[in-house]
Symmetry: C2
Subunit: 182 residues, 2 copies
């Protein structure tokens, strides 16, 4: 890492990592994790982690959102990468903030868009669990437990999902309108 | 900015900005904007922007989430900074992805926690607008229009808000549990 120093940029109100040579400011912002509770006939898809942290523990298909995608696209990508499953999103199940880690998690409720699943490169194993079979002591992260609990609370209930982008700009790719003058 | 090059780090599957001298990888992740549609007796609080982009146009109190805060704390902070208003959050109204900008917006529905508001340093003016008075041609961003439209659709209806952190860890600050062994 470059020899950044902490300094308050002009017009800002808090310290940022700044390169004393070139003035580059490395803003640190919270990162977005996108994931899903994916179920079929009341059984939930969990992945046993092949990587640290919490290798060997079970979790939801979830991971860091990438540039250029929407939260929905990210959740579908992660389900494919970690569990080789094509999912159909039903709505937002939860929005969790992990202030300690600088993380916001957007968790969807989802079903299978196509049959079939398998362990991706970051998973040791992928399995469907009935609610009574969930290995609570071996769930990797508190937020995965929260999301599973929330899923059970909402089982069979419609998700009044928060609005997502309107159909005419479903990916948020339109440019700003030209200023029309004040 | 340092003379970063684009290279695929070991174990990754896409190019990242990398310093060829020291190996530092500058991951670029989508940023989170937190904001609120704040209303009192059916009138909505809007801020006229004192800064670019879209200086002079009207928008919701909203801005980039900072490290160390939750989405809820960020939304309250932005309302205070931009409109000098203390707000009470009711729930998540919308989650928008602006893929073009690498942005995710978490927009709350909120009321006033205390009376009073005023223009903060980034606002030229702050006003309450009845629905029929909203200056649609002078709204700064498409997503602000989406959120206002969503607010109207949900007016008077309960928000089946997505779950937020459970009360026992409302800020997501607890450490991971110790691995219990497999």
């Amino acid at each position: 890492m470059p020899a950044f120093i902490r300094a308050i940029p002009d017009g800002d109100d808090r310290e940022r990592l700044t390169c004393p040579d070139c003035g580059f400011i490395a803003y640190e912002n919270p990162k977005i994790v996108v994931g899903s509770v994916v179920s079929a006939e009341g059984r939930i898809l969990l992945c046993r982690r092949a990587i640290e942290p919490r290798r060997g523990f079970w979790t939801l298909p979830a991971g860091f959102m990438e540039m250029g995608e929407t939260v929905e696209e990210g959740a579908r990508r992660e389900a494919w990468e970690e569990a080789q499953v094509r999912i159909a999103l039903e709505g937002v199940l939860a929005v969790y903030s992990i202030a300690r880690l600088g993380q916001v998690q957007v968790i969807f409720r989802a079903g299978f868009a196509e049959p079939g699943f398998a362990a991706g490169p970051e998973s040791l194993e992928v399995r469907l669990f009935g609610w009574e079979e969930i290995p609570w002591a071996e769930i990797a992260f508190p937020s995965a437990r929260w999301a599973l609990t929330r899923w059970q609370e909402m089982a069979g209930k419609p998700l009044a999902a928060p609005a997502t982008n309107p159909p005419e700009d479903a990916r948020g790719t339109r440019p700003l309108p030209q200023p029309a003058g004040l």
